[in-house]
Amino acid sequence: MQQTVPTHKKGFSLSRFMIYVSLWIGALISLFPFYWMFVIGTNTADKVNETPPALLPGSEMVRNFMKVMEQVDFFSALANTFITASVTTIGVLFLCSLAGFAFAKLNFPGKNIWFGLLLVTMMVPTQLGLIPSYMIITELGWLNDLKALIVPGLVNAFGVFWMRQYISDAIPDDVFDSAKIDGCSHFRIYWNIVVPTILPAFSTLGIITFMFMWNDFLWPVTVLTDNSIQTLQVAIRSLNDVRFTDYGMVLSGTFWATVPLVIVFLLFNKWFISGLTQGSIK
């Protein structure tokens, strides 16, 4: 890039070598716990307590996973997590983009006040209403029901804010005006013009939401009190809750609960990181 001023000679450069070394160390530290999960998850419990501890995968993969299945219904937890995360993601994409469209392109009295209120709600941590929220869910009869996880998450302030920014940048006002003159209804404009334009924003917000719902812990552990219905996070916690912890079994469950999301992440990695860097600070 800066060819006018060569700051170093071609060939070996000590500082660059050191930079690569430190980046490799950083990458190894980041990836090691994933590898370690797999190592312990495929070894017997005794191997964890050996000195030095096992550093290579063992042969107990199947047996450890069978032990996981004895403790929790892994596949129904997987299904519950998948349903919760998918339905919420679809809801968030639809409702947040619709509201974002209204804030970006429609005119109605009090619009700025409502938008200001929306921004204020982003600063309020949800934990503060944890107990009354739990009471509402109890009143509705949604305790130990996936509805308790899905419905409160169907639309959020961050998503609306993000969609509004994206839509006001991506769609020029005259496109919107001419569609109106042609007699398109607002929903037709949203569906035929806005949605096809904001697909990149959909993919990023979709992955963020899916990931958040997949990993959420505090709320599921509060409203799913019965062992018959669990999400993966609640299930791996109950594995860890057993009095005499068999770490081979626990980490086997943890590993397989993490794998699906890692696959989703690796598939969408490019979109995700670039979308995050564009959208997070504006």
């Binding site: 800066q2 001023v5 660059r16 930079i19 430190s22 980046l23 950083g26 990458a27 980041s30 716990p33 370690w36 999960m37 307590n49 050996e50 000195t51 409702l95 947040c96 619709l98 509201a99 429609l106 005119n107 109605f108 209120l117 929306l118 709600t121 309020v124 934990q127 503060l128 209403g129 107990i131 929220s133 739990y134 419905v151 169907l154 959020n156 609306v160 109106k180 209804s185 607002h186 929903f187 949203y190 990993n215 812990f217 505090l218 509060t222 996070q233 791996i236 860890n240 809750d241 770490y247 980490l251 943890t254 993490t258 999301l261 890692v262 992440f265 990181i273 995050l276 860097t277 600070i281």
Partner: protein, 313 residues
């Protein structure tokens, strides 16, 4: 209505129509934003206001509320465990956040270098921990920071000639173990945010500085860091708010809520224990109100701080 139609220059036929374009737009606008505000009213605003009400009631989850005045607040404020949880939360916040920023900025600068090979791989690897759930992170790290001298962290310590540490039972062992979990999960995320900030700095600033003979370290000090300030403020803001909500890591580190030692007690854990273990919803809500006040003060301080920085620039 007549005037409105005239202002918009609509044809005379439309003027007398009751269902005007203007009204349609208002209707659509409110219809489209209503799902958020309805859901927020039910699951956000109402619970929060109700927490304030509950903070002054005595209630064990069954039966009727009994007005309790300030006794809940007094109980919490006089409980040494509450103050210990505040102290711990602040310490976890500092130990988890500050090293993150110190590591994430240089890491982002390295990842932004034009000549770097395998850029995609390094960014992906460093971001991966963020994909892991907090529960999974806490389980893996509770094995890494095992009490036994055979625990992997203690083995590493013994290689460099240090004594094994009781990670779960000593004041600083607990602090280091839990802060490390927070650090590991978030440092990559913050690096990516800083990277985004770096990419926003116009490259011609560096070109001009290079032509003027500024050395890389001078460029870092006089261009990169000042222009990165708003992002640093943003990251600090989110991290401090997040730090007050620490809950999962200590809970899973000790397997179950009843096992959490006071060295690891955080404010949200204290709240959750009061409510869902002790069935003392009044004192739990009083804790929520106190937490709300603390976070509000921190947010305002952050806003004032970032406003001032904005003015300097």
């Amino acid at each position: 209505m007549y005037r409105e139609g005239a202002e918009q220059g609509l044809s005379p036929g439309l003027k007398r129509k009751w269902w005007t374009e203007r009204k349609k737009e208002i209707f659509s606008g409110y219809l489209y934003i209503s799902p958020f505000f309805i859901l927020f009213a039910i699951f956000g605003l109402f619970p929060m206001l109700f927490s304030f009400y509950l903070a002054f009631q005595k209630w064990n989850g069954l039966g009727t509320f009994k007005y309790a005045g300030l006794s809940n607040l007094r109980f919490v404020l006089e409980d040494p465990l509450f103050w210990k949880s505040i102290y711990n939360t602040i310490l976890f916040g500092i130990l988890g956040t500050l090293p993150q920023i110190i590591v994430a900025i240089p890491l982002a600068i390295l990842l932004n270098a034009a000549w770097l090979k395998l850029k995609g791989f390094f960014r992906m690897a460093i971001f991966m921990p963020y994909v892991t759930s907090v529960a999974a992170v806490a389980i893996v790290f509770s094995v890494i920071f095992s009490e036994q001298s055979s625990g992997i962290m203690n083995v590493v310590l013994s290689y460099i000639g240090l004594e094994p540490v009781s990670w779960k039972t000593t004041e600083w062992g607990v602090k280091v173990a839990i802060s490390t979990m927070v650090f590991w999960r978030w440092v990559g995320y913050n690096t990516i945010i800083f990277l985004a900030g770096l990419q926003r700095i116009p490259p011609d600033l560096y070109e001009a500085a290079t032509i003027d003979g500024a050395r890389p370290i001078q460029q870092l000090w006089h261009i990169t860091l000042p222009l990165l300030k708003p992002v640093i403020v943003f990251v600090t803001f989110l991290s401090t708010i997040g730090a007050w909500q620490l809950f999962v890591e200590p809970l899973i580190f000790y397997h179950r809520i009843s096992g959490v030692r006071e060295e690891a007690m955080t404010v949200v854990l204290y709240l959750w224990k009061e409510a869902f273990v002790n069935s003392a919803y009044g004192t739990a809500s009083a804790t929520a109100v106190l937490l709300f006040i603390i976070i509000a003060i921190f947010s305002i301080l952050n806003l004032i701080f970032s406003k001032n920085i904005g003015r300097v620039n």
